[in-house]
Symmetry: C2
Subunit: 226 residues, 2 copies
DNA sequence: CTGTATATTTAGCCTCACCTAAATTTGTCT
DNA sequence: AGACAAATTTAGGTGAGGCTAAATATACAG
């Protein structure tokens, strides 16, 4: 087995790679709340273990083996998040923190039981896709609510899960995954968006709207889905 | 927070104290699968933290603070054991190993949720009492099935949870907590006991019978409960 | 193209929890 | 009381994963 630190690093590398393309020492240090020097040391170890490759001063890339571990950890994390909301009723702004601990102690046996009990789900409570056991992953949406134009409609696909306060705010607005939303107006200069959910309208700041990913309805049915 | 090692040591001290009265360096080393020298070192640290007192060459006693932590860990362990059997259907010979890991990552919040979901239970799947949040604990039964005489009846109170093979064996016999059992015969020289559970009779070795704790029915109702 | 800011790595050190080997203490048997 | 075995502690070390301070590499502005 790998240590918790190894798992945390690989997961962080994967996530930063997704979000920013390039995985730098500093980015890892910030995400893991650790000094850059410590990251350099750990990278060396992970490279020795053939879990990633390191181009000094350039950044880091996961190897096949490293990717496998990262996806296993993420699978655990997201399954646990969903399990905690579904089975134990934990509010969605708290599951992330709990899952950070559980992901490292979940046996394959229990993973399988949770998976079955949840009906082999494909997304966690924040809409993030749950990797399958063999490591395949549906492509997450990359369009942000903040990038939409007035008049467009979409379904919420995924929301960022790192900030509990943001999640509580989105929860108040009703911006959960799968919810349909229409952009009524967009204020200029990164101002707030006016959006409609069901029959009610809300205003949401640009900043928050950047953390909400959506899937636009296709334009084939003018008038849009309901 | 305390490290996992600290929690493991305190739990072990508590358990050995219960089982054997005296908590020696060697006993701790064996239980924790660690060298005696390592135990000496760790004891020194725990004594510095005022979690236990150490009489060199004599043994170790938990302080009030140490006892509190030990009971919290045990509470977590037993709640998790019960949760795993009840909510996730994990077989009773496997829950112990899983709970060894979970006990260290369970937040108070989740502890409370599990506790409520299980209906504020007082015993784990092996019959061991679950400490209350304030650290009170019902006194466990100390009479062993192996110590009973022919003709006596009792209810199974608790079975030792450390050996999965033993638990599977007891499961086959139907020796679960609360089950009523009557000793039909006791072979001499630590030979097997013949016991009756419901309508069926089994033979069980002295060794195994030492790991089954029972509560004798009072003698006030001759003929015994059914 | 040179100077400076920023990113990264190196060097040296720390704590935790473990180890082995070598004292030392305790208890027991004669 | 002496001798020996068993239990315990001391001494010295290891690997993991952190840290700070200092050195070095890269990037960018003038």
């Amino acid at each position: 087995m790998h240590t918790q630190a190894v798992e945390d690093y690989l997961k962080a590398v994967y996530e930063i790679q997704r979000e920013q393309g390039e995985v730098t020492t500093t980015a890892l240090a910030e995400r893991l709340d650790v000094s850059p020097a410590s990251v350099t040391g750990m990278i060396k170890k992970l490279a020795d273990m053939k879990l990633l490759t390191h181009e000094p001063y350039q950044g880091v890339t996961l190897t096949r083996a490293g990717l496998k571990i990262a996806l296993e950890v993420i699978r655990h994390h997201r399954l646990v998040e969903l399990y905690l909301t579904e089975a134990l009723g934990v509010p969605w702004d708290q599951v992330h923190t709990e899952a950070e601990k559980w992901e490292h102690v979940l046996s394959e046996e229990l993973e399988e039981r949770m998976d079955a009990l949840l009906g082999y789900p494909t997304a966690d409570p924040h809409g993030a896709p749950i990797p399958s056991r063999d490591g395949t992953l549906t492509q997450p949406a990359r369009l942000r609510l903040a990038d939409m134009q007035a008049g467009q409609s979409a379904a919420v696909a995924e929301v960022s899960d790192h900030d509990p306060a943001l999640l509580r705010y989105l929860g108040e607005l009703g911006l959960y995954p799968k919810v349909h939303v229409t952009v009524m107006a967009v204020a200029p200069f990164h101002g707030p968006l006016t959006i409609r959910i069901g029959e009610v309208e809300h205003s949401i700041g640009h900043e928050a709207a950047q953390h909400v990913y959506v899937t636009r309805f296709s334009n084939r049915r003018p008038g849009g889905a309901r």
